[in-house]
Symmetry: C2
Subunit: 245 residues, 2 copies
Amino acid sequence: MGVVETSTRTIVVPRSGATVAHRNGGESRYARPKVAVDTVLFGVAERRLKSYLVQLKRGTNAGRWAFPGRLVRVGELLDTAARSELEASTGLDDPYLEQLFSFGDPTRDPKAHVVSVAYMALSGDPERVAACGSKYLAGRWFEVAALPPLAYDHSVIAAYALKRLKAKLEYTNIACNLLPRSFTFAELEELYALVLGRALDRRNFRRRILAMGLLRRLPQKRHGAHRPATLYEFFPRSLRTIEML
Amino acid sequence: MGVVETSTRTIVVPRSGATVAHRNGGESRYARPKVAVDTVLFGVAERRLKSYLVQLKRGTNAGRWAFPGRLVRVGELLDTAARSELEASTGLDDPYLEQLFSFGDPTRDPKAHVVSVAYMALSGDPERVAACGSKYLAGRWFEVAALPPLAYDHSVIAAYALKRLKAKLEYTNIACNLLPRSFTFAELEELYALVLGRALDRRNFRRRILAMGLLRRLPQKRHGAHRPATLYEFFPRSLRTIEML
DNA sequence: CCAAAAGTGTTGGCTCTACACCCATGA
DNA sequence: TCATGGGTGTAGAGCCAACACTTTTGG
């Protein structure tokens, strides 16, 4: 048995020679790495930055947590594959999605050479994420600061994604994809502080953000336990990412 | 005939159904996109930013120019594949190399679904680039501002690479990989002006670069037609790229 | 009326840009 | 000696960080 199809990966046992040749076109000459997409989905809940993991059902990594991903099919766009897998495992229909980097170390999956194109996705309301489907044992949010051991090289991917998120928070309006439609300045500031891992000066933050002219002040206020806060929203969402530099 | 091996790409005719199934594991279920690396090599020569192209020998794109690239083999690191292909087509042994982005549109190559992991490479002495080998019809430097029509989606890759180069020039010391070991301030400034496409203030530029503390002043001077210029070199090359922010 | 979060300006330091003249050499 | 590219300083503007008190509401 040279080829095993699991729910997550097509596994080709390497160097098994002629027995595999008729299945996959020949190990030595025609065997090729496969392409997968893996998506790091970020969201903010309970005042923490979280990321969504699924628990693998089969393979050497059965039982371990990983980012939702799958092999790419012929004819499929990479983005489309990432989106469809994400929708299948979280129900999110149209999240912000951005390609990060491709990881191609042949040993990242000990059973097959799979090149993973890593993506980052952002969700504005983690509560709405549902059903991991039958493909995985489970799926849930984990605090980014305390991820469990991950399958494959997914901890490397996690670190890369977080780095990218931090960087883009500073010079783009990417934050709008991590917030609900309307929000208070305090919430926006908390998001920045959460992701960047440091406190921000409220007055300077407010000035800086307003200077960008990306926010629209709403007439409503949010009423809580104390003084009500003005609500804001980002200008048309279609400006998905503005590079501010 | 469902599968054709050319020198550059394994071409799988899509949607040809059962006749192909035994060759490649079955179109519908097991057929997978292949992975290639394509590398945009930059260099400066004759006071122009140039990039190295090779002329394809076979396939639908025979005769067209493209960046050196090939399919990745099972067991191969992406970086290794990019380096080995680059060395094969230019003779460069250890250039600066950086992964850019993966392009996976199934229509980018009309004959097969190949996901291309694009790389950028930099050479400090374009003159030394030799021999394109027998794989390509030809290979030579083209001015970046005047590239010929390119094969596949390589013009998209070219644009992406140039954008990345410009960006990193501003916040890293990546420039050291585009210059010979020692150089004058005028040469460094010219490089920046060339890549960024705008003139720089000589005094401000000098101040800014020196403030970074990455240059070592050499005792020698370069003697030309007029006043000799002080030579500099970057501190140990091993600091390949310093992120300056 | 009190607790708690929302909202608001000013100042000093630093950085960046704009700008013009003298210097050293080879021919 | 002259043509040419090498080398240098300063002043004004804009930007950013530091910093504390008043306002508004719910309870």
